[in-house]
Structure formats: C-alpha cells, structure tokens
Amino acid sequence: MKLCVSTACMGHGRCYTLAPQLLSGDDEGYVTIRGGDPIDVPDDLRELAEEVEGTCPESAISLTDA
C-alpha cells in the first residue's frame, strides 16, 4: 500500500498526530510529504493508514494498493 498527500493539505496535523510512525509535520504544521511522492505503508500499518485517510478534513490523503 502507498500513501500520498496532495497540496490540498492545509496543515491540520491530524495525520501525523495519529500516525507518527508514518508521517511527520514541518515547521508550519504541514505534513512533510505534502505534494510529494507517495510513501510505502508497511502491512501492519494498513489499518492505521486507512484511519488517517478518513481523518483528513481536506480529503488530501489517498491510498493505493501497490
């Protein structure tokens, strides 16, 4: 599974607060991978990744099976 965050990210910080194992924030509060390449989601974190996707108020997170 891959996780991608678009430039719709406005820095709510919900994703990296919920899943610090996967994501982190920059100095302004945006997720560091905003508008960048997708990251790999380890199998044991798939459920968490799905939760993170559903928590973003901007619907900026997308998951794809790879």
Binding site: A8, G11, H12, R14, G25, D27, G29, G54, S59
Partner: protein, 412 residues
C-alpha cells in the same frame, strides 16, 4: 473547480428555493442551534434567508459546505458574516484572499504550529492548574466565568508574550465584541468600543517594542521583524492581525470548553473513560469539536456568477455554509447525532477547512486536552449545580454558554 455541482452561468433566475426569515443572533436554550441546524438540513439542502436589509444563501449539507471551503476562488473571505457583507472591522488574514493570504499565513503558521504548541504545553499545564487548584476546596463554581474565560486567555497571552495580568481585561473586550458580531444591533456600540480599546492596547504594545527593543518569545517582536513581499508589515495590518488573533483565540476556546464540560458533567461514564485512559482525551476533544461545533455557519462572498449545488449564484451574493449542519449530517457521518467519545475518521469542520482553516487550532486543542486532563486529575466527579435552563449565545457569533454552574464533593 468544475463539477456537476459547480458550473459557470451567465445570469439566470432563482427558482424552486425556499425563502426563510431566521434570526441567528438571538440567545436560545442550550442545544437549540444544533436542533435548528438539523431541521434546516433535513428540510432543504439550501434556502434563501431574508432579513430587513438583504439576504443570503444558506447551504445546509456536508457536501456543499465542503465544496464552499474547497473553492476559495469562488467563495471569497472578504466578508465572513453574510448579514454584514461590508463589516467595520478587517481581520487579517481571515478576510484576505489569494494571493496575499498565504503570505500572511506563512508568517503566522510557525508561531502556532503543533511543534510550537508542544513546547508551550508545560507552561499551559501550569497555568491551567493555577486556575483549578483554588476551586477544588470550594465545591462549586461557575465554570465559564471562573475557568473557561480565564484559562484560554491566560494561556494565549503567555504564548504571544503579553503579561498574564491582562487576562481579565481581554476577557471583557472579547465578551463585548461578540455581543455585536452576530448581527444584534443592540451590541453594535459595545463591539465598536471593544475594537477601539483593543487597538489602542496593541498600538501601545508595538510602540513599546520599538522603544524598548525586541524580545524573545514575543509575537510583536516577531511580527515587527517579519517581511511581507520583502517589506515590513504595515502598522494598520499589524493591528488588524492582533485584533483577530485575540478575538479568535479567546472566545472560541471558552465556548468549546463550556460545551465539553457541560457534556462531561452529565456523562459520568465518559468522565470515567477519560480518567481510566487519558489517551482518549484527544479523541474526545475532536468529537466535541464535531458534535458541539460552535460555528453555526461560515460566511463567504461569491466572486462570480456560478451554478452551485443547484442554485444560481450571482457575483456579490453572500453564502452561509452551515457548518453545524454539516458536522451532524447523516449523509456523511455514522451515528451522526450521537457523541461518540472515541470516534475514528473524524474529519469534522470544527476548525473550518481550506486555506482559512483555523490558525489557532493546535493551540485550541492543546488547551482543551490540558483542561480536561488537569480538571479530571483533581476533580474526577462533578455535576450541574442548577436545574435552571442554560442558555447559549446566538449562532451568528458562534454559540457559547454564558454560564455553567458546576458542583463537586469536597474531601477534607
């Protein structure tokens, strides 16, 4: 953005849309504004709300509210109060659109980032305890007046570098301002007075920094040093920024805390869950922001003729995105009308969304979590100390309880 629900039109008549006459500025029984939002949402996806001098479109459902937030190029923030398209105040950057908006936000974001709030958390916790400890032996208090108004104000002043001794004065200004913000003409004079006095205070603060030199950990020094398009920020703009930070930062958190503690006073099972598992507190805070959202609606000004969710909007029209309707819309939420303390996938609009999402959100949720943790650590049991009907301020100003009498057992 072009989609089946948003498309450009040239003129066109409005048809098939109900016209209503709701006054959202009045004080009502606690909970009435959410009940009203539920009714409006289930009766119609949109309507035209007419008042004596004008009117505006109200969009009641999650999908439309989301689209309004997602298309700031169509829905301008030039005015965020649909009953007042040309207000006497200017909030910066709240009422600034692209391209300047993001430049201001880039200046302010780091000051209120999650990392900055993490660093400030121990100080906030100490301030919080300082307000709670003297209450414990008393056995009762008015939660709003003696805690919810004071703690967020003191924490905020500390975060921006203003002495906490000004807490009472700020609490008064903010109360005066919001007496008029929701459209109640009786509050207009106080609103103007509060704005004037706050401006005077900020003017003195800025003059003081220029005279006495810049300080570390001081927002004024930081803003006086900041560059906008390679130039210092104008004084007028600095004052507009300080004003909105104050208004947005103090009143809102007091309001959310009021509703959260009203809920906890009536739900011992939820208090117990939070005491047993403090990790749940952040989830409970988010659910409070969804279920007890204090933003009745959020206004925007239409920038061009457009068809939006079946309504033909014209340039200059005001719209009102009914956030309180969206946050409990069963088309989006499971168990929409239920407070689910450990709710997952909680992508609520309690802090709005889009580029204007609440700047102080990380401060606010910190303050709320700290308030709950510290209060429950010292007073895990408390209840409402009145049978009287509690009232909430009009949704136009953002709902808030004016009073919340609580009592608890005193252990000697």
């Amino acid at each position: 953005m072009e989609s089946s629900t948003i498309s450009e039109v040239k003129g066109g008549e409005v048809t098939g849309c109900p016209v209503m006459h709701h006054d959202f500025s009045t004080t009502r029984d606690l909970g009435d504004y959410w009940a009203l939002a539920n009714d409006l949402r289930e009766n119609c996806p949109h309507f035209y709300n007419k008042y004596s001098e004008g009117g505006y479109w109200v969009f009641t459902r999650h999908e439309a509210v989301k689209d309004i937030y997602k298309t700031p190029e169509i829905f301008s923030s030039e005015s965020i109060t649909p009953w007042e398209p040309n207000p006497i105040y200017r909030f910066v950057p709240t009422q600034v659109d692209a391209p300047d908006h993001i430049k201001y936000r880039r200046i302010l974001n780091p000051w209120f980032s999650p990392q900055a709030m993490e660093a400030a958390a121990p100080m906030m916790r100490e301030i919080c305890r300082g307000f709670i400890e003297p209450l414990v032996p008393r056995g009762s208090c008015d939660f709003i007046e003696e805690f919810a108004l004071l703690f967020p104000t003191a924490a905020f002043l500390n975060v921006i570098g203003v002495p906490v001794s000004h807490t009472q004065q700020f609490a008064e200004w903010v109360d005066m301002f919001f007496g008029g913000f929701g459209g109640d003409p009786a509050g207009a004079e106080n609103m103007a007075k509060a704005l004037g006095e706050m401006r005077e205070f900020w003017t003195e603060q800025l003059a003081d920094r220029r005279r006495e030199g810049f300080r570390e950990g001081d927002l004024f020094s930081y803003l006086l040093n900041a560059r906008f398009d390679d130039k210092p920020i104008d004084d007028e703009v600095l004052l507009d920024m300080c004003t909105v930070l104050t208004l947005a930062g103090l009143d809102t958190t007091r309001a959310e805390l009021g509703y959260m503690f009203h809920h906890l006073a009536q739900h011992p099972e939820h208090r117990k869950m939070l005491v047993d598992d403090p990790e749940l507190v952040p989830l409970a805070v988010e659910e409070t922001l969804r279920y007890y959202t204090i933003i009745f609606g959020d206004g925007r000004k239409v920038t061009r003729d457009i068809e939006f969710h079946g309504v033909q909007l014209k340039k200059g029209d005001m719209v009102y995105a009914l956030v309180s309707g969206a946050n409990r819309d069963p088309r989006h939420w499971e168990r929409a009308d239920e407070f689910v303390i450990d709710r997952k996938r909680n992508n609520h609009f309690g802090f709005a969304s889009g580029p204007h999402r609440c700047l102080g959100m990380h401060l606010a949720r910190r303050e709320m979590a700290i308030a709950v943790q510290e209060w429950l650590a010292l007073m895990p049991d408390f209840e409402l100390a009145t049978d009287a009907q509690l009232m909430e301020r009009g949704g136009g100003s953002m709902m808030a309880l004016s009073t919340l009498p609580l009592r608890w057992e005193v252990h000697s």
